[in-house]
């Protein structure tokens, strides 16, 4: 019987050719050579999904199209950062021209990788002086290493919502301003139920609760995440251990981690009317300015108020501060209509009337100097509290990093272990966390 000798050169050659192609192939590269006055269709991807928010952004687009009749905008909502990341890396004709992100965490990655185009040349062409239009804090979180690849499209400020009826019942006259007041009030407001459960928790500090990501509460201490060289310095910053100590005290004052965590897992969806604060299961709650609109729409059965989150006792003078983040908008590197795309980005982020209308419609903090001072801005006092937090000089944003929010994820992971009592030597754990963040940062650099 003949012995078959199958030539292997063909598949090997195929594989090698494919490999070679993969090495050379990069996602499509866009250009800024287009004429923005010529007819064009722009693809705009955003993250808004609630009906009211979608209507607000669609109304904004309609206003833009009226001003620029030659530009048609095809918008797609409810798009996550993961989808944008993958679509822009894959390239192709269906990739978006204008993109937004609901978080500032990934801006460093977008700028450093070149995935979002640098907007400075467009601003220069349009004569837009960014320092006169946008507050510095917001410009900082939309740039990385001098590359302004995004602009703020409304901001989010975090404060504390509180149940006024529960406060009256517990005999508390005003919201707490320091962490020790928070601990005392939280204890008074907590009501236990049978079987080790709760009827209501005063203030749940558990880091997995809704918006309670550790970096948000940590902002009240004003930490410095990186030193001048860009190395992580969480272990060196005394604020870090004080923050974890406070969080631990809050947990212990209200029944301990396991009991609170068990109660937390019974909570309904954050963005529904089953939200635990809206259901009266939480008396005080860390959240963003958009929650006020939801509380009004849901007509919750209690009187509620808003205040800045308390600050550490030794930093009482910084009361009024809070964590800031926001939606950011940019132009995809692969867009072949970058000049037209800039017209849309400029309109959405820098046009005062547009910014005010949109901020009022979705209850977000305006992101330009002019819009913040506009008389047309919603006069609702609860909303105004967030405007004050946004303009407080001690309010904090997360520093951008080349690997996006990876260091925040590492901090979250570490914080979960700390709150569960699994980190026995905090100082050592923080040093290891710093080493980990530095290793991840180095790994992301070429």
């Amino acid at each position: 019987m003949p012995r078959w000798r199958i030539p292997l050169r063909a598949p090997v050659a195929l594989a090698a050719a494919g490999l070679l192609l993969s090495g050379c192939a990069n996602p499509s590269v866009g250009s800024a050579d287009d004429d923005p006055t010529k007819p064009v269709t722009l693809k705009f991807w955003h993250g808004w999904s609630a009906p009211g928010e979608v209507k607000a952004i669609n109304d904004s687009i309609a206003r833009f199209e009226k001003l620029h009749p030659n530009i048609r905008v095809e918008s797609t909502g409810n798009v996550t950062d993961a989808t944008i990341n993958q679509a822009l890396r894959a390239g192709g004709g269906e990739a978006p021209d204008v993109v937004t992100s609901f978080t500032t965490n990934n801006v460093g990655q977008y700028c450093d990788s070149g995935m979002w185009a640098d907007l400075d040349p467009f601003m220069r062409k349009s004569g837009l002086d960014k320092t006169k239009v946008f507050p510095k804090t917001l410009l900082d979180y939309t740039s990385y290493d001098g590359d302004q690849c995004a602009l703020p499209l409304l901001a989010d400020a975090y404060g504390m919502y509180y149940n006024k009826d529960a406060f009256d019942e517990a005999g508390i006259s005003r919201p707490p301003r320091t962490m020790s007041e928070l601990e005392a009030d939280a204890k008074k407001l907590t009501k236990r139920a049978g079987g080790g459960s709760y009827k209501r928790v005063g203030f749940m500090p558990n880091f997995r609760l809704y918006q309670n990501s550790p970096d948000r509460l940590f902002a009240q201490w004003g930490p410095t995440y990186f030193d001048a060289k860009g190395d992580s310095r969480l272990a060196k910053d005394p604020a870090t251990s004080k923050f974890f100590d406070t969080a631990h005290k809050l947990v212990e004052a209200q029944g301990g981690y396991n009991a609170l965590e068990r109660f937390r897992t019974s909570f309904g969806d954050e963005m529904s009317t089953q939200n635990a604060f809206m259901n009266g299961k939480l008396a005080m709650h860390l959240d963003g300015e958009w929650r006020g609109l939801m509380l009004n729409e849901a007509k919750v059965g209690f009187d509620w108020g808003v205040a800045p989150l308390p600050v550490p006792d030794d930093q009482a003078g910084t009361y009024g501060r809070g964590y800031l983040t926001g939606t950011v908008a940019g132009i995809a590197h692969s867009s072949r209509h970058q000049n037209a795309a800039w017209e849309l980005v400029k309109y959405l982020t820098a046009d005062t009337d547009q910014v005010v209308s949109f901020a009022n419609a979705i209850h977000n903090v305006p992101s330009t100097f002019a819009a913040l001072k506009s008389p047309k801005l919603d006069a609702d006092p609860t909303f105004r509290t967030f405007l004050d937090i946004a303009q407080n000089k001690y309010s904090q944003v997360m520093p951008p990093s080349t690997n996006g929010g990876m260091y925040i994820t590492s901090l979250q992971d570490f914080s979960y272990s700390v709150e569960a009592g699994k980190v026995h030597d905090l100082e050592k754990g923080l040093r290891e966390l710093d080493r980990q963040i530095d290793a991840d940062t180095l790994q992301s650099k070429s």
Partner: protein, 311 residues
């Protein structure tokens, strides 16, 4: 002038023609991805900029600086050993039971097979709901009989066993395979064994087992390969049980609670498509591939393992 080929050359071309569908499939879907994975494991590549050669940096990062690699590998191997073994034992036991049932066999076969048809995501969501420590009906029933139920998917010690429970619930695929194998065992052999005075255990040990060994091996090998790729159920269970809100700007962190459900495929996805650390993702994929190959080779070392006793 017409091209004339010698007889051996024509034969080789014909052979190549017949083999070309396989060769193309093998090159495109196996050889190329494997070679590309090895290539990118030595590159810094964020899927935007051109790849840069970085030597062993990605390998060092994975083995020395990635704290989640150890837990992910441990969890994957734990699931391979425990889940595969229990699924095979449970599937075989169920197959034996079903083949013995005289009345209502059709109903029981359908009842045990149906869960396998449930979409993995829906089944996992339902399980997390049923096993919710605070509001789930399972713990409520346990409480009625005086037992304090565990925290199931919310407890690092119970999360993996809960996933095993979920996989046993969807045992329909293995049950059907074992049932077919058991029905294929010649009846005469059982009759001969009975005449020799063999009891139930002896009949299973000396008649059933030698006949179904290839099917058991098939179940083990495919089970190992599938479990090495375990992703969806662990991710969904962790995400739902954690109760963490995932908005358009946030990233799903797999592994809840305490990385106890983090598997290597999840880490590959996180590295490759959330952090765009392609090099590290390729290293992880190669480690997974090497382990899967080693385990499969070990299981198939004796060719007889895939042959029935009389072959």
């Amino acid at each position: 002038m017409a091209l004339t080929l010698s007889s051996p050359a024509r034969r080789r071309l014909r052979t190549l023609g017949f083999l070309s569908p396989w060769l193309i499939g093998f090159s495109v879907f196996f050889a190329y991805p494997l070679i590309a994975t090895v290539y990118f494991s030595f590159m810094h590549y964020n899927q935007i900029q051109k790849p840069d050669f970085v030597g062993l940096r990605n390998w060092k990062y994975v083995f020395e600086q990635m704290p989640l690699f150890g837990p992910a590998l441990w969890n994957t191997l734990w699931l391979v050993v425990v889940m595969v073994a229990l699924r095979v034992v449970f599937g075989l036991s169920l197959g034996l039971l079903i083949t013995k049932i005289k009345t209502g066999a059709g109903f029981f076969r359908t009842a045990f097979y149906l869960p396998y048809l449930a979409p993995p995501v829906a089944a996992t969501v339902a399980f997390v709901f049923l096993l919710n420590p605070s509001t789930g009906p399972v713990n409520e029933i346990l409480a009625h009989v005086g037992i304090t139920g565990p925290n199931w998917f919310n407890d690092a010690a119970w999360a993996k066993p809960s996933l095993v429970l979920l996989s046993l619930w969807g045992i329909g695929d293995l049950m059907v395979i074992f049932m077919a194998a058991l029905l294929d065992v010649p009846r005469e052999q059982y009759e001969a064994a009975e005449l020799d005075g063999a009891g139930a255990w002896s009949k299973f040990r000396y008649v059933t087992w030698p006949s179904i060994t290839p099917i058991v091996m098939f179940a083990v090998v495919t089970g190992v390969v599938q479990t090495m790729q375990y992703y969806t159920q662990a991710l969904v269970a962790g995400k739902i049980a954690s109760g963490v809100s995932i908005g358009p700007g946030s990233v799903i962190q797999p592994g809840y609670p305490d990385h106890s459900t983090l598997t290597v495929p999840q880490l590959v996805y996180s590295m490759g498509f959330q952090n765009f650390n392609t090099g590290a993702a390729c290293v992880l994929s190669l480690v997974l591939f090497a382990i899967a190959m080693a385990v499969t080779m070990l299981l198939m070392r004796k060719r007889s393992g895939l042959l029935a006793a009389e072959d």
